[in-house]
Amino acid sequence: MRILVAEDDPVTRRILESTLGRLGWDVITAPDGSGAWGILQTLKGKDAPDLVLLDWMMPGLDGIEICRKLRTTPGFELIYIILLTSRTGKEDLAMGLAAGANDYITKPFDPAELESRVRVGQRMVKLQTSLADRIKELETALGEVSRLQGLLPICSYCKKVRNEDNYWEQVEAYITSTSDVEVTHSICPSCSERMMREIDGLST
């Protein structure tokens, strides 16, 4: 898991970097809020961090502002956010969570507590990722189902089918293009009987 740490105090930043790195996580650090936002913009997409640890009070962009920006920027909505602060009031806690943080650690932090909270975040990230993948699979499946549902205009005489682009095509071509079905040709018993009768009639 990749973690971005944004903390302007170099002592705390180094402790966080070392503690989280020792636990096997890939840690990137930023010395202030603007630096953190710049890193997030650069690493957007597959390389983006899964979890960010944001100091509340930083020069430039503070932790709360970054929280709000992350929650309203497409592609960043699922990032797990932990706020770091020495503020301990209930109002502060409520404000941090309302801005979009998932969790909250007060400074000075206990290394064991930090690890536990980051592990909770890791579990949430895993769960969210697997849910997002599942939703994508379901959406794809639903898309395929919807193509086979609804009204299918078919010519009463030649049996051609009108496709989504408004072109009339052979029913075999339509089925092949809208499903995983391969078409083979054969003759059903009643058609076979009718054809035999027609052939007999021709020969007499």
């Binding site: 180094r14 402790i15 020069p59 020495s86 000075p108």
Partner: protein, 136 residues
């Protein structure tokens, strides 16, 4: 036993006596080592970072106190408080917190005295950290 400690980055400050150990609130070395998982080298690195930062932070704070720049005092005291707390330096943490609170509420009547106390505590902490680094 009392001993004289040098001022920040200096070798002599005979007027500042100090009691070694965690109880005096200057620096709890045991707690610091716990914070860094027993990694003495990292603890030494943190002490060096802290001392380096102080070189610019303290003059900046002094300037802000003279100018009664509440926003700047609040910000600088807050950052110092975070650093000191991470090092388990309770005295400096407490005084920095008091400065931050004074700046936040705008009650600056005693700010010069509190800042002088902070400078004194910083000198003691600086000396202890210098010793800690040397022993590293």
């Amino acid at each position: 036993m009392k001993r004289s400690v040098p001022a920040l980055g200096q070798d002599a400050a005979p007027d500042v006596p100090v009691e070694p150990g965690a109880a005096d609130g200057v620096l709890d070395e045991g707690a610091l080592l716990t914070t860094v998982g027993g990694n003495r080298r990292l603890a030494t690195e943190l002490a060096e970072i802290f001392l380096r930062e102080l070189e610019s932070r303290m003059p900046e704070m002094a300037k802000a106190v003279v100018a009664r720049d509440n926003t700047r005092i609040q910000f600088l005291a807050h950052t110092l408080m975070g650093s000191a707390a991470s090092l388990s330096a309770t005295q400096v943490t407490g005084t920095a917190k008091k400065l931050e609170s004074m700046a936040l509420t705008g009650k600056l009547a005693k700010i010069d005295a509190v800042f002088a106390r902070l400078e004194h505590e910083i000198a003691r902490l600086g000396a202890r950290l210098t010793t800690f680094i040397r022993e590293g």
